[in-house]
Symmetry: D2
Subunit: 383 residues, 4 copies
Amino acid sequence: MKQKLRMGMVGGGIGAFIGGVHRMAAALDGEIELVCGAFSSDPEKSKASGAQLGIVPERAYGSFEEMIKKEKKLRPDKRMQFVSIVTPNHVHFAPAKMALENGFHVICDKPLAFSLKEAQTLEKVVQKTGMLFALTHNYTGYPMVKQARQMIRHGELGAIRKIVVEYPQGWLSTHLEASGQKQAAWRTDPQRSGIAGAMGDIGTHAENLAEYITGLKITELCADISTFVPGRLLDDDGNVLLHFENGAKGILHASQISAGEENDLNIRVYGEKGGLQWRQMEPNTLVVKWLDKPTQLYRTGVGALYPEAQAHTRIPAGHPEGYLEAFANIYRNFALCIRARLEGKTPDPVYMDYPTVQDGIRGMQFIERVIESGKSAKKWIKF
Amino acid sequence: MKQKLRMGMVGGGIGAFIGGVHRMAAALDGEIELVCGAFSSDPEKSKASGAQLGIVPERAYGSFEEMIKKEKKLRPDKRMQFVSIVTPNHVHFAPAKMALENGFHVICDKPLAFSLKEAQTLEKVVQKTGMLFALTHNYTGYPMVKQARQMIRHGELGAIRKIVVEYPQGWLSTHLEASGQKQAAWRTDPQRSGIAGAMGDIGTHAENLAEYITGLKITELCADISTFVPGRLLDDDGNVLLHFENGAKGILHASQISAGEENDLNIRVYGEKGGLQWRQMEPNTLVVKWLDKPTQLYRTGVGALYPEAQAHTRIPAGHPEGYLEAFANIYRNFALCIRARLEGKTPDPVYMDYPTVQDGIRGMQFIERVIESGKSAKKWIKF
Amino acid sequence: MKQKLRMGMVGGGIGAFIGGVHRMAAALDGEIELVCGAFSSDPEKSKASGAQLGIVPERAYGSFEEMIKKEKKLRPDKRMQFVSIVTPNHVHFAPAKMALENGFHVICDKPLAFSLKEAQTLEKVVQKTGMLFALTHNYTGYPMVKQARQMIRHGELGAIRKIVVEYPQGWLSTHLEASGQKQAAWRTDPQRSGIAGAMGDIGTHAENLAEYITGLKITELCADISTFVPGRLLDDDGNVLLHFENGAKGILHASQISAGEENDLNIRVYGEKGGLQWRQMEPNTLVVKWLDKPTQLYRTGVGALYPEAQAHTRIPAGHPEGYLEAFANIYRNFALCIRARLEGKTPDPVYMDYPTVQDGIRGMQFIERVIESGKSAKKWIKF
Amino acid sequence: MKQKLRMGMVGGGIGAFIGGVHRMAAALDGEIELVCGAFSSDPEKSKASGAQLGIVPERAYGSFEEMIKKEKKLRPDKRMQFVSIVTPNHVHFAPAKMALENGFHVICDKPLAFSLKEAQTLEKVVQKTGMLFALTHNYTGYPMVKQARQMIRHGELGAIRKIVVEYPQGWLSTHLEASGQKQAAWRTDPQRSGIAGAMGDIGTHAENLAEYITGLKITELCADISTFVPGRLLDDDGNVLLHFENGAKGILHASQISAGEENDLNIRVYGEKGGLQWRQMEPNTLVVKWLDKPTQLYRTGVGALYPEAQAHTRIPAGHPEGYLEAFANIYRNFALCIRARLEGKTPDPVYMDYPTVQDGIRGMQFIERVIESGKSAKKWIKF
């Protein structure tokens, strides 16, 4: 009889947004069971959250340190097997490091850390401990993103020339953080978010998506970084020119003041033979355009997709799969890799596909370089 | 500490499609736990399926009769609290009836039964036992469907005049059942599906959606029912004219030979003041059109939606919610209503919203009338 | 030096809608020159309209009879060569007949006549006189409609099974004719429109489009015809089941009370191998769907289209061509055929493509049958 | 009786693309008549083109100099009243200057000239002669572009913060000019195009559209200019960061190697209160997005549009108007302004709306600055 993998959570108490997302994503496939958590830095709140989530009181801990120590002492077949970290950016590093060093695998929200330096330290901890580490750049979990990546990898578009990746949102068009709205408050606070606002929160998703789909690394960038809302402490908009390793050129822009936009992450990639376009808000369609042939709409579940795309679809064509399903793909793949390790097997390569600590390092480099470029009179900054 | 509700399942063994959907839908919100099942009429297969699903061997039963009997004997705090029935149509009635009569709530896939007669019997069992009964007309679980219903209910479109509801699919364009494909095989088999093919499988969803959104009952219909694929035993296409109780006119067409269509359930409703349009394949947008004013795009999570729409959304605007989330809304509401009953409370009315045995009766009536009309030279058949 | 063809117009004075459309369509390609007209039944208004249109006063006639008689007496290289009839339905027959019998080719707005009987008489006049006659079912002038027709004709979709053609408008949702609005007034007046309202005005376009694209004739129909707006004298909505000659089934619905709809003529055709979809409001895209292959977007001017499509495009891909260009294709083809006759040549077959008096007969039959069916308790009425 | 305005044309002989566009645009409204032309620098070809266009042989001139001289000698009521210049960029200046100085109004294709210097000279000639001068930045002729401009002008979006304007094409993805294709050949030839390729041909349209819609001037820019196709002599792609006078930030990118793109000029503008989006390939829709309210689709001809939008629409809502109609709006407005001058009247302000020599100067400045920036290591270049 198959046993569910046991997960502990750091953060994600009542009222948090991303904690609930992680829990739904972890629950969807019946592979993972939430068994404990340090849901809040306030022990009372952590207990209350645990009770709502069906966690026995003694495993709703008052701090991540307590959770890691106490869980470690439980019987191997009882204790948590991995930790999910869903706190604001400034509380990623410490629990991740401690969990890894105490023999727990870690899945962590993005960006990886508060600073590039923290991120680099964490990378070393991952290497030293040999534990598995996943970063929830969840947008790469969509089947059509994987189809796009494989089409480019197999040369269907020819050499890549141009990449346009966008992430417009409008929810911070007003000084929302002044109202005490929790999501706005920490994301615009340098003490909790780090040196970047929009560029860290969503710019890194755009950067990650561009590198994931194209398989190309950004080599240098030129950024115009702005804060439009008076009183705001971090950037809320950025426009960036990109150079990629193979000579491709690109544009990345991310914004939280694009009034009326919801969460419109999208990418276009143009090669010598064709181009493709994917939009997160209609994620089950991949538009592929050709020189002098009809445009094609690749659709989740329709026809001969690459195995990497097919493996990340749960239901038949025309039954829309969304954000939670893509997020769940990260959790499911991470779980399958943990399970394979427990069983001493090599995971099926199509599932060995989730963002890692190296992706996290790229993201932190992006944040530091893009903010540096925004302040610089020099045109190009090496990535 | 909150306890999950305990669910037993009838059907849904390895290789089934809809069983997996029900399990994911039940798991998503952390409200429900699968504790037992009669996953197949073959006891070996049921055990094997149970093992894969993490069910202890003694609760993977060889038949639904065994499951109901044995679970009833377990301690109240251990035994299943409701049964989920995910078998083909001809195995809905017997397990539903037995479960209800033994004190278990039931959630059942659609259509309600093999025949209208069975359905009417079941309705009486539900009334007599007083147990809760839900039918998974899952498309009514989408937030924008609920918004549409409320807009019409509050008179925003004025009196309704015209309704066009469509459900085109193309997956049965060839004689797929001859290949042994499991989904095609039972759906086109009169012994397992009943008197209707496409009209039962998807036509009933269209009928249910039209009545749910408009709040109007169909009073008579005129149908043109076809079987296009040679060798097929049931209908694979139907075009139907509809009359509604208030004088509104309508069209319903459903097809499984609309080559190239995925699962394009959609509806348009026109009233005196405006019209609306919703498509299942882009479920987070509700298009509302007005006389001489700009068209509006209502979007899941954006702006001042009706509470009934808002309550069925899990994540912020622009993070697409799909089929599983809508399906999960049926399970979540059903779970909340069971929980309220256990606690002696009245559920919040916005969650007392899932299809019932009465909806199932309407569906079975639709099937019988539409097939009758298809064979009749008379123009209008009373519903 | 090429000479422009000389056109006379009946109807289309100041304030008319369709007259201006015909003039722009005729002018676009520099093939046709408006030289005279009987723009109104009121001689003063006709003169005033002529002056605005740059017509010399002596050729702005007070009646079509006067125009035909006087023009006939002019030198052959001066007089009009064909007549364009843009009056309401009840004034199609008389000027068309007289023009044809006096040696003038005729291009006429649809529907062909006030009644089927008139239409049949006109057909005989066309045959007897041997003059050219075009009917402006302008929607068949779009390049992507021609591409659709050719794809079906060449068997790309396999045998046709199902056709859904729709023509929803919303502009008559209120009792607009009571306000004196000119377009509404004559279209809802049985004295000027004939026995049908919406079914004649736009239903015939839908019928024509379906037969043009599929190459199949409607053989019988079953109609539900309604008048929703109190006080209106003719139908404003109709839902129709169709049978086609090869066994294909269809739905046609047309409406002028679909509140919020503009002019959304559209068609879907499904064959054994694939389906296609075209919408007049986005006319440069033809969606083609396949069993288990990516959907294709054929676009005006892109790739290897059929010559019949290519020949009706004026500008490069991505430069949208609209309603007037499609309308102009009817005029251009008609002009090329007149010119070929003048030069004793056979026109290039790709341009021998405009709706004829036979299409007009089909349209009038449709009107009579659909209204008959709407009143009948019999299910099927032979077309 | 109204007389048509008499137009002479420079360029646009058989086989040219844009000459035909100008002729159709000029013909559409019945305001303008083509009476003469120097259609080619080869007198034989000019004659042949003239014959095809119905021009009497003596007015199909061998050069623009001949045309201007000879037409000037004709009787005022016979001679051309304005000149349309549709030649490649290097033959804009000389005919424009000579025409203006000889008392003919001029309408000229864009960009204004071969160099900024020429453009500035031309501006002085326009001022000195007092003749009317129009530049065919035709995309500003669309009704929904005018609606967008008015909405911003009236403050509906609040202060503008961000502008994204794009012009992707894919037709130069291969070394098409090597094949002798006429359109590709001159556009990629520095001797005929000037210092810029894509940035001049289409980048200037994007720049013009952004300034027209927002009413804001670009103050500085930072460009990344590329030539991707080996052997090509001018740029085929450019990505540009923009600063606007009020502090707004922007991105402009234009490309002729975006494989599979047709002619996808589009713009998004975000203000404090809302955002808007317009796409040339679906020009009759203007998407307007708001903070926390449903998105609106403004449509050509629907509802209460600004008079400036309404005045540039010819047919009812839902009858798509395209590229030629927008182009024709420039000609129509230019014609109405010439006519007003002839009649000593002031034109209606809604029609005093066509791009002028000042817009041309902006375009030439854009070309020079963007190419300079592309070569510079300095981040920002003043506009």
